[in-house]
Assembly symmetry: D2
Homo-oligomer: 471 residues x 4
């Protein structure tokens, strides 16, 4: 069985706490890696603190060169990396390939943005005492970043913290999810080949208990967390004087208006509903369909969901597979059964076998049921109709504590304008499911879905501090 050392302050090391990583589809052990203990973590923070100023002085050329190299290597090693990612996460290989490509793209964008950090010139002679004065605003690295990333996009969501940190000139210590640390440790090997200062990036799997130091240590200036709302908001409370960015989840909604031809959008809707078994922060969980399209939509969704290729995620044509672990599958099963008891109607799916849960469609759900109100993070969707008025559709989109993204299929300008202004979310996706994200766009939620925005340029901005020269 292979082994993955962890990456601390520029060195690949082992610790006494072994961590077995399984093949999520077979359940068998796949690789051994290690968990950082507090001493190891401290060493990483020490190193970061020591080279903080060196990182601050990196030129655009140095940062660009490193980031571009990493991007290129990800593409070069795509096949091998995608396989590891597929095995550790249980994600179909087509999606694993796409994730490697996105991670490469995220590094490419960061490479380019590292040459374009913001800066402003302000005239200050608006009042008599400012005569002849100007303000020159430049942005400097905020300091050390702590990144915590989840299992569902084990590589690209870690990269959305690492790449901006390098572009901004900030050291970063990243804690990957314990279930899926391998792809980021592979990334560490690539990063180690660049000429970035050793210790600028550390990648350390660890227990939540050990990781707590990332939240509380005052030498760290920014905590960037992607994960569940419950944990995210708890961390904010304990974060001391540091800045906090939270990228949490939601129960994204989609509006299917009366202006669309249903069969033309089904493929997108099925993908938004069930890719990677719905374990996606912007998984399309709630569908609101114009009443005149409701029946056709429900029937076509059922049909196409039935056609999804279920297989070992490593097989080239797999479209649907297991969940990350049995615990989560059990939770989903329980929520669905509870909803059915509360009056929801099961259209298809609803069965579980180990960590595999079927692609499941429900209707007649309400915001009182967990399947509708909470983040399901599993292959379950609710399809409901609305009375054809955009105001009602938007009201349903907003009838939740979350607010990440939503989708709307429509050709009506007035409907889209209304939805854009009134949907309480971070992003409105037109003629697409809410599951769509581009790595350069601002991404993040409002309400309980998060605080702050990622997307390379926006993440970099949060990792910088304005300093004004009045002159």
């Amino acid at each position: 069985m292979n082994e993955h050392k962890i990456y601390c302050a520029g060195k690949f090391i082992t610790t006494s706490n072994k961590l077995k990583v399984t093949n999520k589809y077979t359940g068998k052990a796949y690789s051994t890696t290690y968990q950082a203990d507090e001493k190891t973590l401290n060493k990483a923070i020490d190193a970061a603190f020591k080279i903080k100023n060196k990182c601050k002085r990196l030129s655009s050329l140095e940062k660009y060169t490193a980031l571009k190299f990493i991007s290129d290597q990800l593409i070069k090693n795509k096949k091998q990396l995608a396989e590891i990612l597929c095995i550790e996460s249980g994600k179909p290989i087509i999606y694993a390939n796409a994730e490697i490509e996105r991670a490469a793209q995220t590094f490419l964008i960061a490479a380019e943005e590292s040459k374009r950090l913001p800066g402003e010139i302000l005239s200050l002679d608006w009042t008599p005492n400012g005569k002849s004065k100007n303000g020159i605003v430049r942005y400097f690295p905020i300091g050390i970043i702590a990144g915590i990333s989840p299992f569902n996009f084990p590589l690209n969501l870690a990269v959305h913290k690492i790449a901006p940190a390098i572009a901004a000139g900030c050291p970063i210590i990243l804690k990957p999810a314990s279930t899926t640390p391998l792809s980021t440790l592979e990334l560490a090997k690539i990063i180690d080949r660049t000429e970035l200062p050793k210790g600028m990036v550390s990648i350390l799997p660890m227990t939540r208990t050990t990781g707590h130091l990332l939240v509380t240590d005052n030498r760290i200036n920014l905590l960037s967390f992607t994960g569940s709302p419950k944990i995210g908001w708890a961390l904010k409370k304990q974060s001391g004087k540091k800045k906090v960015v939270l990228e949490l989840g939601g129960n994204a909604g989609v509006i299917i208006s009366g202006t669309v031809t249903v069969k033309e959008i089904i493929e997108k809707c099925v993908a938004g509903a069930f890719s990677y078994s719905g374990q996606i922060c912007i998984h399309a969980q709630r569908f609101f369909v114009h009443e005149k399209n409701y029946k056709e939509f429900l029937s076509l969704m059922k049909k196409e969901t039935g056609n999804l290729k279920k297989a070992n995620p490593l097989s080239a044509n797999a479209q649907f597979s297991c969940m990350i672990d049995e615990d989560n599958a059990l939770r989903v099963e329980q929520w669905v059964n509870e909803a059915i008891k509360q009056g929801a109607q099961l259209i298809c799916g609803g069965k579980r076998k180990g960590s595999f849960y079927e692609a499941t469609i429900l209707t007649n759900t309400s915001p009182k049921m967990k399947v509708n109100a909470e983040e399901i993070f599993g292959p379950v969707i609710c399809i409901e109709s609305y009375n054809g008025k955009i105001e009602e559709a938007v009201k349903k989109i907003n009838d939740t504590k979350f607010g990440l993204q939503c989708g709307i299929f429509t050709d009506s300008i007035s409907e889209l304008d209304y939805a854009f202004i009134n949907c309480e979310v971070g992003g409105v996706i037109h003629n697409e499911v809410p599951t769509l994200r581009f790595d350069q766009m601002p991404y993040g939620g409002i309400k309980e879905s998060g605080l702050g925005r990622e997307g390379v340029k926006y993440a970099i901005m949060d990792m910088l501090e304005a300093k004004v020269l009045v002159k």
Copy 2:
């Protein structure tokens, strides 16, 4: 009879060339003013040249204070100014009032923008030889501006040159139209009360022959012309080393798609067609109506056109009145008659009495007829149908040598997106006639409709030169 002195290098003067300005509605003499001779013009240029550097050093506060004062005074004197403007131009008083308000708004925007001149900071360390270097880009006044403005918005189109020039820190010499110089000379009185350096603004009516010096004198750095395409393009050829901005005319088109309720848009369409007798650069001249709406649209337009209140422009409820002079009315009459001979069908109007030409609707016109192909600058429109496909409607919009603005009434996202990308114009106005302009937006045409953009911030940009400090 009253008299208006002209404004040369900070002084109100007279010359030996008297210029009578008539009441355009009654045809009677209204005021006497003067034409600058070459010596006078030279004096204005000399003065501008001498204080160029003083103008460059004006603080934001000094420019803001002056521009804001002028804006406030325009509102304070609105009633009196609107009356003068109404009389000298023959424009209904409701429109004259609106023009004073817009001129005040243009000065207000310039006041605010004078505090927000652009500036940039660029990192230059993208290559080894740029190590530690940055570029600081600031924008400095380009030098002396020559402005030439037309009769149709005698005040606001002059203000679109004067206000940005002051905001940019450039001296300006403005030549108003000889038929309508009075409102800008009233403006001169307000400008004279500010603490701007004397000579920063000169306002000089003059013959086209005298004005030629504005085009050829090498001390002038930018020529900003608003007027007819023919003259504009000829000036560009003779402009020597100076920069040239041309705001010319067009034969703006409107698309009425199948998604709209005709009666809801008629009021806007009649206004776009006939306000100020169509003597507007973005007069809605060509209407292309979805074939299913064509008949209803034609009939309602005819009806509402018939309801326009014709009266002395000074009367509070006048909606329609005379043209600027009989020559122009004769030209319009000739074009319409020619079109009818070539097969166009007259729906209403078509008669002339002196400088008064009726609000006229034609159909069955083609791009071979002057009424369709040339800028009519009179109260005449062509209403044609199209086969319902947005591609055909846009093709018709583009089937002309001009390209200023167009309007499109639609609720379809795909129609609007197609129109925005493919209409060859400077502006696409949604659910409005193309006649709509906001003073802060970029405004200007492509093809034979002009070169460059106005709109306060954009006009200022053209009046500045980038200077980079590499450091």
Copy 3:
């Protein structure tokens, strides 16, 4: 004695908890106002919540009109307002006048910025799946703001929260300092005369206990606090899911390099040291002087400090007066005495009488003494020499837990460049004391001096949420 009602949800009300406001110079009662109880505060939050969406839909015109009106009224009533501000704060009338002017300027800037809220267009076709897609990013109000402001600039520091909130379209509840609530309550009267939705602004003096609801209530989306570091950082911990902006204090330093003529800068240095008895967040507390200038600087500072006009703050020529209360004067006395015991040398001052503490100069201090290490918030400065090397001067500037602003007097490009890059602060002020602030510039500290930036445009940005339309 006069009375000031408090402003809750659009109404001027009284409560059962009277609050006496004294004349800080005479110590006598000056006016009676009221403290909001929890029920009153709740009413204000309820009202804000109800009209949140109405505020979001305010047009630029509506916001501009209200903000401009308030700015104009502040200037119009300057004399009367300055007197109230002078009396409640003990601030010399020349500074009180300046503060009214600055508050008017802050509202003016907000008026202008309300028309210029940010927005972006991003191409999203960088990868194959983005073909033809664009991102349109617009910024919407974040929701309800809670503002907490301090006694030292009772009006303008409150205005730095209220004006941006209105510009952003956010309701705001402001808690002024209990010692100095009158000038903001006067402002409330002006705000009440605008056509802003009633309840958009509430101004409520209250105890810290009652005010805690502002920190914990989940309907509030942003807490903006200006005050002491200790309280600020404690609030962050309790702030739940809301965003937090902290504008805290510091012990700002100044570098006097070897390239300057000492006598030319003394006037600025005395003002930075002692205006409003040093009760300013960016009070110039630590002076680091090139060794060749040290003696001259010390001696001239002593001399000019002796010349400060001490008087009743209401008298036109008062330059120096009492502190906010005796408790603070006692604290300052204690710190100075302690420093002297620890080896500091007293150059002048050092005596207290009631709430009056003399302008005091110390030398031979060290970062181990409170007068040097902590925020003194009183009329005390430390003057020390450095060896002439900019690296050492900057090291001294940075040898503290704070990082708000610093000043540097120099004509050397290399010194200024080094200082700008290496000083750990939010602002470097060239050829001025750090006490200089312009209301349009980004303002705020790093390290323990704060989180986030104010300055109208920057404060507005924090009160907005990005929403992207992918299309």
Copy 4:
């Protein structure tokens, strides 16, 4: 002997007009290429016109991919390309290598900028009639570009037109200098291997007579010319309705203030004075030295100029070599001799042998002498002293009809600030000769040195037209 076909509308072709290109050092024939006749040129314009809309619709991805490929290929083939460039231009191989690298950098920047074309969102609700309206400004390709480039940077100055044109989505027809067309024809081979539409780029050597069609043809929308002032300004007159960008020459000045150590800057000054025999638009032609440094500077410059390695440009250590042709060397000889007759003093150089002219230093020159007043475009510099006052130094910098760039060596903030504000140039280069240019910075002159700015982002901006959607 080798042959270079020319690149017309996507095909490599020959014509009946052969053009011999010589090795500029040996004077022997090196390669044969062809001149386009009017028919060929017309074919290129026709093709560009036909695919104009296809080019407009290219995605960021398509443009980025092509531009990045070209950049990579230039680096890959650097050795071979540099040799050709060295031979055709007589430029020392170290500079030829640097030019290939810069051309690759220029394409890289364009690749990145093609994904970042500008766009703006404006609120339009500043007046009552704009209620709820916004302006969305996007920038579209202006149409067909005609580029004319000079011999001195035969590759990179052509690339500064080609790369932005591709990034903007505009077809371009480039006319390289007839003496040095080979490196751009090599570039054509690389461009031809991309998937850009055939005909988007044509590279056609031609006579000035044939080339005139590029200036007059109305299908071309922008003429971008880099070359001599005389020709540039003449073209503007004949350019019809098209936009014109002129990058012309100058007689760049440098200020050596009293704050610098002379020997530390000599190396940079010699390079700025004599690299590529001064045949550079921003060649450092006029040196103004603080009187206290004048003698030392003169003597050190003479010494180091004597140490320049003269050799066949192909040899690795060549620093100085021949001029482009004997005609130019003769002209330079004549100007120098004339200056000496007029009173200038020859410090070193002054001799000619064929196309080789010695590195020449003059002093006691005046703005009345051609060597000082005109663009020498040869290895000749004037070194003069000034009285130590920055005002006088800047006056000397400005005492010319040109205004491209200037350099200033100083450590004084007040000197640099004064110079930046008052030097009448497009760029002020601090602690460097004016010969420094970075490919991402705005570059271009004022006065007779040009119209408009290049530098990738700025050149792209000129190749785009704003279109506003009012909605």
